[in-house]
C-alpha cells in the first residue's frame, strides 16, 4: 500500500533496531515519553517493545483526547443528551468513556437518549439541517488536530444561521499538558519526548522549543508509522548521548516549523483560552483548553443550555491519573485486567484504543506472562 507499507518495512526496521542497540550505551537508562496515544498504539500494535534494548524504556503520555477527558464532562454530555429536544453528535470512541457511577453515552443511548455517532463535523451540520425541530449539539473533543475542523464547522453554522445547532467544546492544548507533566509533584524521570505527530502538522515545531531550551528535554516530533517511531527513538538516543536538547523533526513529510498558518488563524478567530480546565489525571491546568469566542456565543452549548460544570471524583482504585503522567504502568493498577478491561472500562485509559491500558491489554499482555516466567 503506497505511503503506508514503506513505513513498515521489516528490513529497515531491523537496521534501525541494530542502530538503536549500538547507540544505547550500556549502564545508561533512556526514558522517553511518547506524548500521543497514536504513538502508544503503534508501539503496542507493531510490537516495538520487542525491538528495543532493555535500557530504552517508553513511557506512555497523556496524548489521548478520550483518556484525558474527566468524568464530569462526560456526565455533562449525558445530562445534555437526556434532554428530549437534544440530538448529541459524538465521535465513535467517546461512546464508551465512563462518566461517574458506570454511566456512558452508550448506556444513555440504550436508555433512550438520542446520541448519534458521526464521522465528521459536516455530518453534524447536515443533521441539524435535516432536523429543524431538534437541537443538534456537537460534542467537540481533541487536541489541536481536531480543533480546525470544529472551527470550520462553527464558521459554517454561523454563516448558515443554523438556529438549532451548537457545540459542547472540550478542545484541549498540547503544550500546557507537557508543561503540567514536567511541573507535577514527583514527576516521572523523562530523558526526552517523542513529540505529537498530527498536532504538530497544525501548530508546527516551535511550541516545543521551551521544553528543549528551558527544561533540557530533547523533543523529536515523529509520525505514527512504526519506522517513524524507531527513527525518532534513535534520534533521541543520539541527542542524549551528545548532551544535546533540541527540537528535531522526524516527521518532515508533514510537519513544518511554523505549522499550518491558515488552521492556526482560523482557530484563533473562533476560539479563546479558558482560564482553567480539568484534565483527567493532570488536574486543573490554566490556559489549557478552548471555548468559543463571544462572537460565537450563540453556538456555545454550555451557554445555550446553561450547563453547569460538574467535577466528579474518579474511582479511587483507578490508577489512570498516575498512568497518564507516566508515573505508573498499566500493570501497576490492581484493577487492570480484573475489574477494568476493554469490555468493562473503569478508567479512561482502557477506553480508547490509544489509551495506555487498552493498548497493553489488547496487544501486549502476553509479555507480562513472559516476564513472570523469566523471573
Amino acid at each position: 500500500m503506497k505511503y503506508a507499507d514503506e513505513y513498515r518495512d521489516k528490513e529497515l526496521a531491523m537496521g534501525l533496531a541494530r542502530a538503536i542497540r549500538a547507540k544505547a550505551e550500556s549502564g545508561k537508562a533512556y526514558r522517553f515519553m511518547e506524548f500521543c496515544g497514536g504513538h502508544t498504539h503503534a508501539i503496542a500494535r507493531y510490537g516495538l517493545e520487542d525491538m528495543l534494548p532493555d535500557n530504552v524504556r517508553m513511557i506512555h503520555g497523556p496524548g489521548c483526547p478520550v483518556c484525558v477527558l474527566p468524568a464530569g464532562r462526560i456526565d455533562m454530555a449525558i445530562a445534555l443528551a437526556e434532554r428530549s429536544e437534544v440530538v448529541l453528535c459524538v465521535y465513535g470512541d467517546l461512546m464508551r468513556v465512563p462518566g461517574s457511577r458506570g454511566s456512558s453515552l452508550l448506556r444513555a443511548k440504550a436508555r433512550g437518549a438520542d446520541v448519534r455517532m458521526v464521522y465528521s463535523t459536516l455530518d453534524a451540520i447536515a443533521l441539524a439541517e435535516q432536523n429543524p425541530g431538534r437541537e443538534v449539539v456537537f460534542f467537540a473533543i481533541g487536541f489541536e488536530t481536531t480543533t480546525p475542523p470544529t472551527a470550520v464547522m462553527v464558521r459554517l453554522a454561523d454563516k448558515k444561521q443554523l438556529a438549532n445547532f451548537s457545540v459542547f467544546c472540550n478542545h484541549v492544548l498540547t503544550p500546557p499538558a507537557m508543561r503540567a507533566i514536567l511541573d507535577s509533584e514527583n514527576p516521572v524521570e523523562i530523558d526526552g519526548f517523542v513529540g505529537p505527530a498530527h498536532v504538530s502538522t497544525v501548530i508546527g515545531t516551535a511550541p516545543y522549543e521551551p521544553f528543549a531550551r528551558d527544561d533540557g528535554k530533547p523533543v523529536v516530533i515523529a509520525g505514527f508509522e512504526p519506522l517513524d517511531m524507531m527513527q525518532a527513538i534513535l534520534m533521541l538516543i543520539e541527542q542524549v548521548n551528545d548532551g544535546r536538547h533540541e527540537v528535531e523533526n522526524q516527521y518532515r513529510r508533514a510537519v513544518t516549523g511554523s505549522g499550518n498558518r491558515r488552521a492556526i488563524d482560523e482557530m484563533a478567530e473562533i476560539f479563546e483560552l479558558r482560564d482553567q480546565f480539568e484534565w483527567r489525571g493532570l488536574g486543573s491546568i490554566p490556559s489549557s483548553a478552548l471555548k468559543l469566542r463571544p462572537a460565537f456565543a450563540h453556538l456555545d452549548a454550555e451557554l445555550r443550555f446553561a450547563m453547569s460544570e460538574l467535577v466528579v471524583a474518579d474511582n479511587p482504585a483507578c490508577e489512570c491519573p498516575a498512568i497518564l503522567r507516566g508515573v505508573k504502568k498499566p500493570v501497576d493498577c490492581r484493577l487492570f485486567g480484573n475489574a477494568c478491561t476493554p469490555e468493562t472500562p473503569v478508567g479512561s485509559c482502557m477506553v480508547s484504543s490509544e489509551g495506555a491500558c487498552a493498548a497493553h491489554w489488547t496487544y501486549g499482555r502476553f509479555r507480562d506472562h513472559q516476564r513472570r516466567l523469566a523471573s
Binding site: K10, G38, G47, V66, R96, T146, H369
Partner: protein, 346 residues
C-alpha cells in the same frame, strides 16, 4: 370457483399490514413473490411444513438471523447472505447442507421491488448451492419496528460417517489454514453505510463454502480438527473463540495473512484492524500437521480457496493467548474486538 386475485404491483407497490395478516393478501405475497423466487416442489405443495427423506449419517442443524444494513451492498444483499451464512454454518461441521427454511420479518411500507430483488437473489443463491428453501414464514410489522427486512434462516445437513469436527480436538503443533483474504465483506458493507460512503472496488466475499469444505474433507479426512467461518468479529474473534474452546494458544504470522491492498487502505483510513473485520466467504481450518499440505493444496485448487494460506500453529498455552509475529518484526496479541469497532478520533 376461482377467486379473482389482483396481481402484486411489483414495480411501485409496497408491503402493508394486510400482507402479514393471514388473509388473501398474504397468500398472494407468498405465492406471487417468494414461491416464484425460490421455486421448488416442496413449496408448491403449499403445506405449513415440508417432508423430506433423511439420509444416512448424523444430521446437523443450524439457525441464524440476518439484520444487515445496508440491505444491498457491493457483491451481494441480505438475501444471498442469508443463504450463504446458513449453508456455511452447516458446512463448518464438515457436513453436506440439504435444506433451508426462511422466515421474513418485513416492515410496513417496504417496496415489493426490493423484496423481489432480495427473494430472487436468495432463490438464485440456494439453487447455485443446491440447497433448496423448502419452508418459510412471513410477518409484517408496523413502520419503524424493523429496519426494512429481517431474515431468519435455518438449515439441516448430513455429516459423513465418522467425521466429528470440534475445537476440543485441536492439539499443539496443528496448523491453522485460512481460505483467502480478510475483510472484504466488512469493507464492502462499510463503503455503503450512511455517513461513510466511499468508493472502492472491493466486493463482499459472500459465498457458500460447502464445495470447498467437501474437497478439504476428501483431502484431509480425520486430520481435520475443526473449521470456522470468521464472520462478525473477523479472524481475531474466531481464533480467540477457538483458543478458549481448545484450551490452546495460537501463534500466527502476520506476513502470511492475506489482506487485499484496498481493504488494508480502507482499514487504515478508518482506524480499523482487518483482523477484526467481518467475512462471509472465508473459513479457518485447524488441521493436523501431517495433512496440512494436502488440505492446503486442495483449498488452493478450489476457486474459493485460491488465496488460501497456512497462517500459523496451535501451541500449548494455559493463558490461551492468540499471539502474532508482526510483519514489522515484533510481537503482539490478537485480541477479541471490544464492543463495537469504533473509528478513532484522530
Amino acid at each position: 370457483m376461482t377467486m379473482h386475485q389482483r396481481q402484486l404491483d411489483l414495480r411501485s407497490g409496497c408491503v402493508d399490514l394486510s400482507h402479514g395478516a393471514g388473509g388473501r393478501a398474504m397468500a398472494q405475497l407468498i405465492s406471487g413473490l417468494f414461491h416464484e423466487a425460490f421455486g421448488n416442489g416442496w413449496l408448491a405443495r403449499g403445506n405449513d411444513q415440508s417432508a423430506f427423506d433423511v439420509a444416512a449419517g448424523r444430521m446437523v442443524m443450524t439457525t441464524d438471523g440476518y439484520v444487515v444494513s445496508p440491505l444491498f451492498f457491493p457483491g451481494g444483499d441480505i438475501g444471498s447472505l442469508a443463504v450463504h451464512g446458513t449453508v456455511n454454518d452447516i458446512a463448518m461441521a464438515g457436513a453436506r447442507p440439504l435444506y433451508l427454511s426462511a422466515s421474513f420479518i418485513i416492515e410496513e411500507g417496504f417496496r415489493f421491488a426490493d423484496l423481489k430483488r432480495i427473494a430472487d437473489s436468495m432463490g438464485e443463491a440456494a439453487r447455485a448451492a443446491g440447497v433448496p428453501i423448502i419452508t418459510g414464514d412471513t410477518k409484517v410489522v408496523e413502520r419503524g419496528k424493523a429496519d426494512g427486512v429481517f431474515i431468519s434462516t435455518a438449515g439441516v445437513g448430513v455429516l459423513p460417517d465418522g467425521l466429528d469436527l470440534s475445537a476440543d480436538k485441536a492439539r499443539p503443533g496443528d496448523r491453522v489454514l485460512l481460505s483467502g483474504s480478510l475483510g472484504d465483506h466488512g469493507v464492502a458493507i462499510m463503503s455503503k453505510r450512511q455517513n461513510l460512503t466511499f468508493d472502492t472496488e472491493i466486493v463482499s466475499d459472500s459465498a457458500s463454502l460447502h464445495g470447498l469444505v467437501a474437497d478439504m474433507v476428501a483431502a484431509g479426512g480425520h486430520g481435520l480438527r475443526l473449521m470456522r467461518d470468521p464472520t462478525r468479529g473477523g479472524l481475531a474473534a474466531t481464533m480467540n473463540e477457538i483458543a478458549q474452546q481448545s484450551n490452546l494458544g495460537f501463534r500466527l504470522q502476520e506476513d502470511a495473512i492475506p489482506v487485499k491492498p484496498a481493504v488494508a487502505a480502507a482499514c487504515e483510513l478508518l482506524g480499523l484492524d482487518p483482523l477484526n473485520v467481518a467475512n462471509e466467504g472465508k473459513l479457518i481450518a485447524v488441521v493436523s500437521p501431517d495433512v496440512a499440505g494436502a488440505v492446503l493444496a486442495a483449498m488452493k485448487a478450489h476457486p474459493l480457496g485460491r488465496d488460501a494460506a497456512d497462517i500459523g500453529e496451535a501451541v500449548a498455552d494455559d493463558h490461551r493467548f492468540v499471539q502474532m509475529a508482526t510483519s514489522f518484526g515484533g510481537g503482539r496479541i490478537v485480541d477479541w474486538l471490544s464492543g463495537e469497532q469504533l473509528p478513532r478520533i484522530c
